[in-house]
Amino acid sequence: MKAYLPKMLCFLVGALFSLSAAAGSARHTLENTQNPQLKAFQMVKRGSTPAVDDLTFLHRVHLDLTGHIPSQETIAAFTANPSASKYAAEIERLFQSEAYVDRWVTFLADLLRNEPIFEDTSAPFRNAMHNGLREHIRNNTPWDVLAKEVLTGNGSAVNPSTAFGFWAREIFLEDFRLEVLDNQVANITETFLGIQTNCVSCHDGQYHLEQVNVGLVAKKREDFWAMAAFLSQSYVYYPFSAEDEDESFDGFLQKLHLVDLDRGQGDMEEGELFADERFMDGEYNAQSVAGEGMRVPRNGGVIQPKYMFSGESPRQGESRREALARLITSDPQFARNMVNRIWAAFFGEGFVHPLNGWDPGRTDAATAAAHQSTVQPRTPALLDALTNEFIQSGFDLKWLQRRIVTSGLYQARLTETEDKNDYLGYWRSNKRVRRLPAEAIVDRYHHALGLEQRYVYRGNIHEAVSSTWALPSPGEPEGFALIHIPEENFDEDNLVWLNDPTNLGFQSIADYFYRQDTAHELLVNLGRGRLIANSPRENTSTVQRALFMMNQPEFHAYMGGGFEVELDEEEVATIGRLYLPASPFLQAKISELSDGRLDQDGFLTEIFTRFLLRAPSAAERTLFKEYYRGKEIYQGVYDTAWALINHPDFIHQR
């Protein structure tokens, strides 16, 4: 904590100004706030019962913290436990779980854009960064430390701390060096500050942004370029020697380095910097001509680095990227941005939404007044208080999450409509009910049916994972994860296997392909998104998705009993016959209903609890029992499962 002391002082001073209008003196934490409006957020006292029933509590915390619904054993044990301390204990147990790591690595990987650019490789730097993020989440690395590592990462692309995945996309997809730097700094302000600055890369803010972003109105293109200039000493370097003539593309990727000329890495004898010769002097020379790059021509000569929100430059002896990392992580907006993003993960939307829509001229009361505008965030008093506490915690992400889930507001019974007399009424209302992310739905589907999950991702060929949350980026899993695709002479009929799927627990090659391809299809159709395709994760309900879940064969194949997938003769010869196993849970219920060990009421209670984590309503119970009349038992069981998978409560948080 000592290292953060100077920062804390700066922020407390700033916080005094921002909070003075709302929450009183910043020395009060949320726990002893004098502001009655914020009392609803205070922590639920240890030993007191939340406002929601046990099943709703479990549904909420499990899905939000781990992306999974609890197992039947967990539900049974929890509901039977009379102790009032079980709620806090369950939350702690989830924080310590491997599933927590998987889920929040995905959060970070999405935020930090870790997606491989090249499809036909072992994704070496994607996997390196993924492994690095796993360690960070496991060790609860403070967010400012993690951000600095990503922003300043240099060295081998396959060293996790280089965070090469964050840099790769712009480096490889943009031809023109200035575009690379500009796009990447725009990514940086969006990721770490929540502010989109790319508008002012093409034109000054004045006369363009008055209606869009008041904080950027005064900014000029030169200000944006001065931000990009912090990256101008950074290059991708490829060391090569004569023996590398026949190097594979994978080998090439593994050799790449991210280097900074101003960190003593300028001496690269044998090798190649990825840059047009004109741009190898480490300066941001704004001069360009028409047609060069995709932007209007620029004038301005050599631009020196200047942080566009404060005008500060690198200090003596400080490398440009290290300076940028310092300036960003000490900007109050850095903390605000992460509080906003984490909040949105639990409440469905941020204090500012969309999450990259911050207006730096409207972040808090003082700033908004200075810009003659209104405060942008919803319930700014709560945001400010949480932000200050997050900073004081040392940018502790787990602390922030814990603070949120142990709050009375998070554990509240949701209201049907927003109570306008309640400052926090919006967050307490059912507006925060939202559709679950793709991975959570896929996982819930398998879990409810009692089906095993097994996936392999590229570059990680010696182990399988058992949850889509453990996959390192969108685009996984895919059929070719275990297959080597040579640059030439690729033969579909003679695949080169990197590992035998049966070594990883798959029943057969057919089983491997089916699981990989089905999971891929499900994730894509449920909105996982692809950064490379500029389509972000998207959790909205649509008619197309409703049709998909009702009719796509993968969504009812497992309920139809074991049946043979139709393969044509050639496919059968090469990959074998595939019998899709029926859901063991459904098979067990069919058996129990058939021999009288279970009656219809008992079945309904059990399947509703398992699928939806609640009991059926009286109307639902009547509906299903009416449906069962004249039906075979197996038909009734399968149709109930299918109907519940298509029930709104299956794919929504509550």
Partner: protein, 452 residues
């Protein structure tokens, strides 16, 4: 439109879903510009734009230039004394050159696929700041023609094969496209397991218990009900569900899928005609034939090569023409008379000798288009390019500049009777939205040489 009635009408059902951004009851009104309004052409009721995704090589297709590089299979012939045509790869179109017009003098600006397609489908340059607001021109057309919809119009005005970067923007969700596959189908519209159709009624009853919820689950229930209405509609299942006409009544059977690009594109074209002819509300369709981005091995025969794609285009456009002509129009003529068809890619390709990978690269400076129907006079070639196709030598119209992408879109608006110089002021950002983005050199014009 009242929110309730919007939700229960099927027309609203098949968009991309409810988004919080659509303001309830918004009545976006386009306002005429201060300058004098233009006279619109008003010769078409419907529009089909065939997006040649990837950017076709103009010098190998609509603006043939023969040189050392030209392979024999191109089969160049001179038609009507002056039109050079690749009969070897587009024989059907070559036999009907009097039925369509070609424009050879559009000069596009963007050379990057995403930006160039965006420019074509929105008549605006792509901008991160504005993108969430800017609608596809077909969504704008849907909005402008909303008053013409009747009680039996259950399909949206705008139907698109595949998705692009622009949808309904700031306009209501009613104007978002219904997305269909390259096969011309709504994915997953048929349940497929016929013995289990009882379960659909079970789900209907279950969903009905949740339709009045005020949370996201309630919204979802309403969307599921819309999806169910789609599924239950036999006519839609035949039009867009791949259900063959013969088997529709028996609740089973699906038409073939798959096959090569040609078979697929022809199916798309046939679906387009069926959908327009059914008269269920759809008036603007975007079809798609992709694969034109031939940076490598452009003249290689077989799937993926130029001859294969051009053959697919040839077959498809000829099918479109014939099938549209065979359908009666609403106003006495044929459906072809009432439907403007525009085949265009986002840019042309480099000219002369092939590149180092035996292909052609992006070249926006000369971008060709082929048009027929909807009042277009056949047998016209508008504009000319240089001997190698690298520069426009004659813009082919009366205005003192090259034709732009905006002019082409203006032409489409004009054919449908929509004043392209209008703009909306009440956008969420407060910025005025012009139907066709202003250009520095003066007003945007329709290409009247197509019609008079």
């Amino acid at each position: 439109m009242q929110r309730r009635s919007f939700l229960t009408s099927l027309a609203g059902a098949v968009g991309l879903g409810l988004t919080a951004a659509s303001p309830a009851g918004a009545n976006w009104r386009a306002l005429p510009r201060q300058r004098s309004a233009v006279q619109t052409r008003n010769t078409a009721r419907n529009l089909i734009m065939v997006l040649l995704d990837g950017g076709p090589s103009h010098v190998d297709t609509f603006d043939l230039k023969v040189g050392r590089w030209t392979p024999n299979f191109i089969g160049q012939q001179t038609i009507g004394g002056s039109l050079q045509w690749p009969m070897g790869i587009m024989p059907k179109l070559g036999a009907m050159t009097n039925q369509f017009a070609i424009i050879r003098s559009i000069s596009a600006i963007e050379a990057v696929h995403e930006r160039a397609v965006y420019h074509l489908i929105t008549a605006h340059r792509q901008s991160a700041a504005l993108a969430p607001e800017i609608p596809h021109f077909a969504s704008v057309m849907s909005h402008m023609m909303a008053g013409q919809r009747g009680p039996n119009d259950k399909l949206p005005t705008f139907v698109s094969v595949g998705t692009d970067e622009a949808h309904n923007g700031f306009l209501n969700i009613d104007h978002a496209p219904l997305i269909i596959s390259e096969e011309g189908r709504i994915a997953n519209i048929v349940h497929g397991i016929d013995e289990n159709s009882d379960r659909l009624q079970l789900l209907d009853a279950l969903i009905a218990l949740h339709e009045n919820r005020t949370d996201a689950g309630g919204n979802h229930a309403l969307l599921q009900q819309k999806a169910r209405r789609l599924m239950g509609d036999q006519e839609l299942a035949t039009l867009l569900g791949g259900l063959s006409q013969a088997d529709a009544g028996n609740g089973g059977g699906e038409e073939a899928e798959g096959g090569d690009a040609k078979a697929q594109f022809v199916r798309q074209c046939k679906t387009a005609v069926n959908v327009l002819a059914a008269g269920r509300g759809t008036r603007v369709m975007q079809l798609r034939l992709e694969g034109w981005d031939q940076h490598e091995n452009i003249y290689v025969q077989g799937e993926g090569g130029l001859s294969h794609l051009a053959g697919a285009l040839d077959e498809g456009l000829a099918t479109l023409y014939a099938d549209l002509q065979a359908q009666p129009g609403l106003n006495g003529g044929t459906l072809l008379d009432e439907t403007l068809v525009v085949a265009v890619g986002e840019f042309g390709r480099t000219v002369g000798n092939l590149n180092a990978s035996n292909g052609r690269d992006h070249y926006p400076y000369v971008t060709p288009a082929l048009l027929f129907g909807g009042g277009v006079k056949g047998g016209r070639v508008i504009g000319q390019s240089s001997a190698d196709g690298g520069a426009i030598t004659d813009a082919g119209w009366s205005h003192n500049r090259f034709m732009s992408i905006g002019d082409l879109v203006a032409t489409m608006y004009s054919a449908l009777g929509i004043d392209w110089t209008q703009r909306f002021l009440d956008t969420p950002s407060g910025r005025a939205f012009e139907l066709v983005d202003s250009i520095a050199t003066g007003p945007v014009h329709e290409i009247q040489e197509l019609f008079v």
